[in-house]
Symmetry: C2
Subunit: 221 residues, 2 copies
DNA sequence: CCACATAATACTGTATCCATAATTATGGAA
DNA sequence: TTCCATAATTATGGATACAGTATTATGTGG
């Protein structure tokens, strides 16, 4: 449809679905009606089905043969499994990133960090989210390991399935900020080992916050 | 076609293609002719294309919009990126596996290890490969972390793209066996930290062997 | 009134068909 | 002869059509 965009339709559809899933508009467990969705998007089922295959490979949906497609339900156990893994992976990113970072890179990182500080001061939660994501992402890019990056991003997608995950940050904005300061400091000091440790704890601290929410809320997912 | 198998056609096709890619019958860089393949398998292009989407998500092929599908070419840099990552991940598996392993589990592992010993003694390389895979796989399962497992297996699929990867083991069968003995010993001693270290070195030692092959062969992939 | 069997319906999975874009081949001009 | 433009061919991407199975509804028998 758009000749400027060389991207296939199934990819666009996949992205739209991802957004709807992350926004919890399509909640875990819900069945995805191919016909209705195709109609809704004004496309045929073919590209839609291809998009679903992609999402299934990412773990966002589950394809049950002859029974249709369902948004993946993520259990508390899954979260407990994923967080330590992410902690390890992002910590590794931090090490490599510090090693590879040139002064200009650290300055760039600092700029993003400033946005985090500002968002925190002004209490703009969504801006905080945004800057937080970019901060982590930038570090992952600095690590300069394509596969490490891809693994982390895949897992992050899965984490975003959980509504609790996004909620958890809100309750610990200040603490998260402190941790980011420590990470930033390690980068400015060129302290790879320190960055590794602090990043690791930062992630685990995220899990703890989430666990507390779960305990209060009582629900398993 | 087979009513006992509740598996969809696109999945079977994906698996068949995987095997052909791993067997290097479809070598990296080669273009995949949808029509010819569909004809070959006696199916329509629809399930084949869905299968390709899955393989693309796994990183085994690359889908260039409007330009077709190509088997992924893996660079030396990719291997250098993946091996340390795998070392970290499998080492983590080893830790968790030792912690979770019950005596019966260790015995099972020992049984697989014995097959490795036998294969080595009899010089049966393919049997060695087989047992080696199962040994690692069993440990990964013992770690009991669904996501860790999935990440490792995804990366392993990518590694299998490289012909050098399979070749490298042949040249260091004895050394690999020694390392496996050390891993086995750590399990029998219930030494989690030891298992972690040994497993980590085991993987890195695999990379070294591969690097040597590359240096000799001279080719980048 | 409930349970089970059978029929109707709806959805998934696969095949076929068509449009559009890319590649290749062919012809002409420099 | 070589380069470029244009036409023909071929392959990809998407839409539509069809077959088969799971689910649901309905009716009958206990």
């Amino acid at each position: 449809m758009n000749r400027i965009a060389p991207t296939a339709l199934y990819q666009e559809v996949a992205e739209r679905l991802r957004q709807r899933i992350f926004a919890h508009e399509l909640t875990p467990g819900t069945w995805i009606d191919e016909q209705k969705l195709a109609e809704q998007y004004g496309i045929s089922r073919t590209p839609l089905r291809e998009a679903l295959k992609v999402l299934a490979a990412e773990g966002l949906v589950e394809l049950k043969p002859r029974r249709g497609c369902y948004v993946t339900e993520i259990s508390r156990q899954d979260l407990d499994d994923i967080f330590p893994l992410m902690a390890m992976l992002e910590a590794r990113c931090a090490v490599e990133a510090v090693r590879h970072a040139k002064p200009a890179d650290v300055r760039d990182l600092k700029t993003i960090h400033e946005r985090l500080e500002a968002a925190s001061r002004e209490g703009r939660i969504d801006a905080f989210f945004e800057a937080n994501q970019e901060f982590h992402r930038r570090i992952q890019e600095l690590a300069n390991n394509r596969w490490l990056l891809s693994v982390i991003q895949d897992l992050r997608k899965v984490l975003k399935l959980s509504r609790l995950h996004s909620l958890s940050l809100e309750g610990r904005l200040q603490q998260s900020l402190e941790e980011h300061r420590a990470i930033m400091a390690a980068f400015e000091a060129g302290d790879a080992a320190g960055a590794e440790r602090v990043m690791h704890d930062h992630l685990l601290s995220g899990r703890d916050a989430l666990a507390r929410i779960q305990d209060v809320g009582g629900k398993a997912a």
